[in-house]
Amino acid sequence: MYLIYSTEEAGIERADEEGKYHEFSYWTEGKGTRWLTKPVPTADGKWALDVSEYELDGLEESSVVDSYLIPDTIEDNI
């Protein structure tokens, strides 16, 4: 399940909120683990945040999508 954001900053803000909820070290000690997941770019210029393990509110639950468009990468012979 994913939430789609227009900007990376908006996605990071939601990821930060979840990271604080889990009391990750970054938020308690100032270093270390910060996020449960973090937003990744989509093919249409937006940002997808994997919220499968997040505590969602009602509005978010109605906004989740099952998939997003993955951007083209350098998928030649690596």
Binding site: H22, T33, W35, T37, K38, I78
Partner: protein
């Protein structure tokens, strides 16, 4: 290092002389034969491998940590290794590394910090030295008992679920036996079945062990329900029948290993009455996690250059402790999204050294790699065809065939004009190449940083990664000998 001479002087004035053929790294400080002390010139530390004199053979048994015993024609010689900490380390002997990652002390300080570990039971984090890892102290810390749940039924069911509509129970709060703030289940169904339970979802971590304690009260006025049957850690059930005393609060203390995330406390009937209206109470539910997964947030660079490998996303951190047990073979990468990021951009001339063990072969999965664009590769790993490979500017230089579940030592080097790969000491021919000319994207460990997007995720374990921004071909055999001596790869 030139060969050394070992002389054993006997009490009767006689002596024996041996030639010691030496190699670098580990060393012998002194020996005793039949109670006599034998002094060895140890102006530089070396590893004694074989001693040969007049047809005699001294057999030396070694482990990863060095020489343990010697025998001379069947007579054991003891070795004092108390000065082992003073021996020359990998990075002291092979200087100039740009970055070095391992769970062993490559720097040789004796207390080198090698990893920052996150304990999954409560997300605490802590730095650990190589000694902490090898001694078990890190694993013990990961497995520290953590109280992961303590019930509070003062204002609700505190996450315990009302069973499905078809089930016979309803949750509520009540007072019984002189105590308040209890969780009560009242049957609205005549028989006890598999859905007769207290249940709390997303409470356990699969694979880990727990201790569950709670108090329970069952009144003797019940017609059918008169006991508990099991505590289920997921579907892993522990029998608790026969412990209840009716009309009294009875304490339970149950341990088990979870195979899923839900906790169940199941009830039991006596098959003699109608359960409709029967009640059961619980309180003081405490869940203590006694083993945990440990994940690495930072794999520290031991070279002194600060190129630490970091993963701040919890779900993408490689595992070092799996359900309470130290992972074998270094760090375990899941092949899905586990990786570390570094800020070390691939130099045009680089030596990449790594030790890895793949779960699956015949796919592109890398120990370390990055590129800014198409023909700017720099990596070591495996590629399609199930062979080791060195990624160079315009393609891949194939090495040796791989077998899943086997350790491999890969030594790769590319420069502006040449490329080279050795797998377990088996050398591929040096061939012409061109410079990758990267400027932006840093190496990722356990994946390929493909211009900002990770791919080729490592499915297996990585024990060690060492990077030089120089051509280390002249030291290749000595480097491989050192690493092979550590890991017994081939």
């Amino acid at each position: 290092m030139a060969d050394r001479t070992l002389t054993i002087n006997h009490a009767d004035g006689g002596s024996e002389t041996y030639t010691l053929k030496t190699e670098d790294v580990l060393g012998v400080r002194n020996m005793s034969v039949d109670g006599e002390t034998v002094t060895i010139d140890r102006t530089a530390p070396d590893l004694v491998r074989t001693i040969i004199a007049d047809g005699q053979t001294i057999t030396i048994d070694t482990t990863r940590e060095g020489v343990r015993t010697l025998t001379v024609d069947g007579t054991e010689i003891t070795i004092d290794r108390s000065e082992e900490a003073n021996l020359e380390s990998f990075l002291q002997e092979f200087t100039g590394a740009s970055a070095a990652y391992s769970l062993r002390d490559l720097a040789g300080s004796g207390n080198t910090t090698v990893v920052r570990v996150r304990r999954a039971s409560d997300n605490s984090e802590k730095d650990f030295s190589a000694t902490d890892v090898s001694s078990g102290a890190m694993t013990d810390w990961v497995n520290t008992d953590v109280l992961t749940y303590e019930s509070d039924f003062s204002s609700g069911t505190d996450g315990f679920l009302t069973p499905p509509s078809s089930a016979p129970w309803t949750c509520n709060i009540d007072s019984i036996g002189g105590l308040n703030d209890n969780l009560r289940l009242t049957s609205n169904y005549p028989v006890v079945n598999v859905n007769t339970y207290f249940r709390r979802n997303r409470t356990l971590s699969a694979g880990n062990s727990y201790r569950v304690t709670f108090d329970a009260y069952i009144p003797s006025t019940n017609s059918e329900v008169d006991d508990f049957s099991t505590v289920a850690f997921g579907t892993s059930q522990v029998n608790i029948a026969g412990q209840i005393t009716l009309d009294q609060w009875t304490s339970y203390d149950v341990t088990g290993t979870a195979n899923a995330t839900a906790l169940f406390i199941r009830l039991k009937g006596n098959s003699s009455g109608d359960a409709t209206g029967d009640v059961v109470y619980i309180r003081n539910v405490q869940i203590t996690q006694t083993t945990a997964h440990g994940f690495v947030e930072t794999w520290y660079d031991q070279s002194g250059n600060g190129n630490d490998a970091v993963q701040q996303v919890s779900g993408s951190q490689p595992k070092i402790v799996d359900a309470g047990v130290l992972v074998t073979g270094g760090l375990k990468f899941d092949g899905v999204d586990d990786s570390f990021g570094t800020s070390l951009v691939p130099p045009n001339t680089v030596t990449l050294i790594g030790v890895a063990n793949w779960n699956v072969v015949n796919q592109a999965t890398f120990l370390i790699g990055a590129r800014d664009s198409t023909d700017q590769r720099s990596y070591i790993g495996q590629v399609s065809g199930g062979v080791t490979a060195l990624g160079v500017a315009d393609g891949a230089r194939a090495g040796q065939a791989l077998t899943a579940g086997t350790d491999y030592l890969i030594f790769g080097k590319h420069s502006g004009i040449t490329r080279f790969i050795s797998t377990n000491g088996i050398v591929g021919s040096d061939a012409a190449g061109s410079a990758p000319n990267n400027n932006i994207f840093g190496y990722h460990i356990g994946a390929f940083n493909d211009a900002g997007t990770d791919s080729a995720f490592m499915d297996g374990s990585i024990s060690e990664i060492i990077i030089y921004d120089s051509d280390q071909l002249a030291n290749r055999e000595a480097i491989e000998a050192n690493i092979n001596n550590q890991y017994d790869i081939y």
